[in-house]
């Protein structure tokens, strides 16, 4: 374990014992500069961090380091700068160079360079090759993943896995809605593992592609090659596993590969847009295996996290926006991070195009189309009912009257659901608009659809299309 690895491992522990705000404030840009005879010198970016780590977090650091190296007796901090160090894979090399600068002793300098140089040489030629095979995109790393309350657990679990392949959480199952960062986390594991040990065999694949490869191999009668190729992997990452639902043969093959890897303690990481229980046509034996390891979810980011994301992204683009404008975007674009990025890109483009500064007013205008909710656009219950009757080909009269035919009842439920969720109409008012029904009827409809949305693909599709149609007015 070299200094960088030791520090990464220690940070992983410290992160779990203090709040995320404190962690990111005080441990950002820190590194171990030297570790000799049980004396560890930690490089920190400024005097405040030095005081704080020495006085307040001393015991945490000490305990965390002792877990990995029990010969550590003393910890001290010095201020050093790595501002110039670019993020990403080269970072570790750079910090080593910094260490070399700091330590004037020629011996140390040589020791470091000799150890590091062959490693660097081995890494570079291998890198493009490996990237082609393992599908890992070096853009996604833990460093540029923004931590919030919603993804804290998932991130910590992924990081822990990357430090300790196959030993702690196996399999690791990550789920969460679209655009919340599942793929980023999954790819980060791959990148982190590669950065620590480039010789590891890693495979990142979407379940869709997995199925396609399997079909190809069946057609070319190379199923055995396919299996043995997968069984030789150290870390298998399967993204969007919910697409395996309903594909029996693929599930079967996957099951065998999964078992083979699991038995020899190889790490498996899986992501999906819902928990294993909610994937309808997943075979029970797969489901129980998914549930056997660690399950972590990624929720929607809270407003603080969204602000942090916007700030980071705009800084990446060298784009300055004032606090008010950022807050406005964060408060109005809520659902996922991709939308958030989209909104930011839209503003950057609009600013460049109109040669204007991103003031609050300008931002409001630029985003008016994206974020206007139904109420603002003057959409009323009538629009919803009309859209439903068109979509299901049921007359509005039928929709409102007392008929209990299955199709009509379903359409009616969706109508009630949309009026509630999009226009925020009160339950009694919904009831009265549907031929004087009781408010509990509306309540029941809302809850029923809400529940089905989670499990039923068809319902989800209908609601999404209808929502688009309503807003297309």
């Amino acid at each position: 374990m070299n200094n960088a690895e030791l520090w990464q491992a220690a940070l992983g522990e410290i992160e779990l014992s203090i709040s995320k705000a404190n962690f990111s404030t005080w441990f950002k840009n820190t590194t171990i500069l030297s570790n000799e005879n049980g004396k560890v010198v930690i490089g920190v970016p400024n005097g405040f961090a030095k005081e704080w780590l020495e006085n307040k977090y001393n015991t945490y650091i000490f305990r965390a380091l002792r877990n990995f190296r029990d010969d550590i007796r003393e910890i001290s901090c010095i201020i050093y700068s790595n501002e110039q160090a670019p993020a990403g894979a080269t970072r570790k090399m750079d910090s080593v160079a910094q260490v070399a600068d700091q330590q004037s002793s020629a011996e140390n300098y040589q020791a470091n360079t000799y150890v590091q140089q062959p490693l660097q040489g081995a890494m570079n030629p291998a890198a493009p090759n490996a990237a082609f095979e393992n599908n890992i995109n070096s853009r996604y790393t833990f460093e540029n993943f923004i931590i919030g309350e919603n993804n804290e657990l998932a991130r910590a679990a992924c990081f822990a896995v990357s430090q300790n392949l196959g030993k702690i959480y196996n399999p690791l199952f990550i789920y969460g809605g679209v655009g919340l960062g599942k793929t980023h986390l999954l790819q980060s594991i791959g990148n982190e593992v590669l950065a620590n040990d480039p010789s590891r065999r890693i495979k990142y694949i979407t379940s869709e592609r997995f199925a396609n490869e399997l079909i190809d191999s069946i057609r070319n009668q190379t199923v055995n090659d396919f299996k043995s190729a997968y069984q030789a992997i150290d870390l298998l990452i399967i993204d969007d596993v919910q697409f395996l639902a309903g594909k029996e043969k693929t599930q079967n093959e996957f099951f065998h590969i999964f078992n083979a890897l699991y038995q020899i303690n190889k790490q498996i990481v899986i992501s999906s847009d819902r928990p294993p229980k909610a994937i309808a046509t997943l075979e029970d034996r797969l489901r129980s295996r998914f549930e056997g390891g660690m399950i972590a979810d990624i929720g929607k980011p809270d407003v603080e996290t969204r602000i942090a994301i916007l700030k980071t992204k705009s800084a990446e683009n060298n784009f300055y926006m004032d606090e008010e404008a950022i807050r406005f975007i964060a408060e109005n674009v809520k659902n996922n991070i991709r939308e958030l990025e989209g909104a930011l890109n839209r503003i950057i483009a609009a600013c460049e195009f109109n040669k204007k500064l991103p003031t609050l007013k300008f931002v409001q205008q630029a985003l008016a189309e994206i974020i206007s909710s139904g109420k603002k656009k003057g959409i009323q219950s009538q629009h919803v009912i009309e859209a439903i009757s068109q979509y299901f080909n049921i007359s509005t009269r039928e929709l409102i009257e007392k008929g209990r035919k299955k199709e009509i009842a379903y359409a009616r439920h969706i109508a009630m659901y949309l009026m509630r969720s999009e226009l925020n109409v009160s339950y009694p008012s919904i009831g009265s608009q549907f031929g004087g029904r009781d408010h509990t009827t509306a309540l029941h409809a809302y809850e029923k659809i809400n529940k089905e949305l989670e499990n039923d693909e068809k319902v989800r599709e209908d609601v999404t299309i209808l929502r688009e149609r309503i807003y297309a007015v």
Binding site: A21, S24, P45, G47, A49, E51, K56, I79, S81, E83
Partner: protein
């Protein structure tokens, strides 16, 4: 905590510290200021983790203690209360009770132990700079500091330490300002020792503007100490701590020409007016104003032209030594330089249309150049 202090001191202390407090999303306690009793005094601290500020004021202390409260709230309250002479503070259950005359307030606080520790100086102050000279110099320099974060070393002021003086410079690579300030050695031995290690430091812009704000007309000296890539300022009773910018400042001395062929003495007002007018007749960003120095007619012709707007010319009478010369400048940079001049006449020194031009202040009957401030501006080459 229980104490009483004068309203004037308390108000001034809050005013001096509250400004470094920034909007912090990650760590809410940074929006607070820390009040604590310290050896019979009240110590007030604030920080944004780049800059830390603290000061002590006299107080009658009945009970020791400390608390942090939101800075904006406290300062808004203190600024609006009636002036009656004294303020009493007390802490009960994480709440600060303030009483002054007829006003009482209770401000909910956070635990003081979570407040960042502001680094203390271990050694002694190395040197001092005269406060009033600095008060004059800082705004003249700040106009040139680069805001481009891709070159962090240009986002601060460069202090070059010498035996008798300190040269302070700022540049955004289009123009450069340099002031020379007298040095007062507090601790000659330590200073000489420090100079052996390094003679050039870069202080962030925000830190300097904070220092500038704290200087008041009665301030005599600014004490400065440097340790472990941090700088400490002591201005009256206020202590400011900041990180230094790491990096190598460009060796700007090389670009200042040693001799100038043409020297033009101009009235500041005339020149500034001419440049401002010329600025109107240029494209918004890529504007250029042409200075034609005519040695025979003893005048300077300032002109500009924009295809779609129109053009203008202004003649300024001037004293000219040396040959005629022409050069193009960015009107905004030229106006900045002229505005920094505080004397009624100034010297414009030029060699040719492609080498840097220099502005200096002049004084006295003979209009002698003053060497304590130099503004260098790169001409636009055709």
């Amino acid at each position: 905590m229980k104490l009483t202090c004068t309203q004037e001191n308390f108000k001034k202390a809050i005013y001096s510290t509250e400004r470094v407090v920034g909007k912090q999303i990650t760590l809410p306690i940074l929006e607070n200021i820390l009040l604590e009793t310290d050896n019979g005094m009240l110590k007030i601290s604030a920080t944004n983790l780049e800059i830390g500020v603290f000061l002590k004021i006299g107080a009658k202390i009945e009970e020791e203690g400390k608390i942090t409260v939101p800075a904006r709230l406290l300062s808004n309250f203190v600024n609006n209360i009636q002036n009656v002479g004294t303020v009493s503070l007390s802490v009960v259950d994480q709440t600060l009770h303030i009483e002054s005359g007829s006003s009482k307030a209770q401000i909910k606080g956070l635990q003081a132990t979570d407040f960042p520790i502001i680094p203390e100086m271990e050694g002694e102050f190395l040197f001092s700079l005269p406060a009033q000279e600095m008060k004059e110099a800082i705004p003249r320099l700040m106009i040139c500091v680069s805001l481009d974060s891709t070159r962090p070393e240009l986002t601060g002021l460069n202090f070059v330490l010498d035996k008798l003086e300190v040269r302070i410079a700022a540049t955004d690579s289009f123009r450069l300002a340099e002031s020379v300030v007298t040095l007062i050695k507090d601790n000659a031995q330590a200073y000489d020792l420090f100079m052996e290690k390094t003679t050039s430091i870069i202080v962030p812009l925000n830190t300097i503007s904070e220092v500038f704000r704290v200087i008041n007309p009665e301030t005599q000296n600014i004490k400065i100490g440097i340790e472990e890539s941090q700088i400490f300022f002591q201005i009256d009773n206020v202590r400011i701590v900041s990180r230094l910018i790491n990096g190598k400042y460009p060796p700007y001395q090389q670009i200042i020409p040693e001799t100038f062929a043409t020297k033009v003495i101009l009235s500041k007002e005339d020149a500034l007016r001419a440049v401002k007018i010329a600025g109107i007749f240029t494209h918004s960003k890529a504007g250029e104003v042409k200075f034609s120095v005519n040695a025979e007619d003893k005048e300077v012709l300032v002109q500009s032209k924009a295809e779609e707007v129109g053009e203008n010319k202004t003649n300024i009478n001037a004293e000219i030594e040396g040959p005629s010369v022409e050069a193009l400048f960015n009107p905004r940079y030229m106006a900045d330089g002229l505005q920094a001049v505080s004397t009624s006449y100034l010297a414009l020194l030029m060699n040719s249309g492609s080498s840097p031009a220099v502005l200096r202040m002049v004084q006295g009957e003979k209009k002698e150049e003053m060497l304590n401030y130099t503004y260098i501006i790169m001409p636009i080459k055709n």
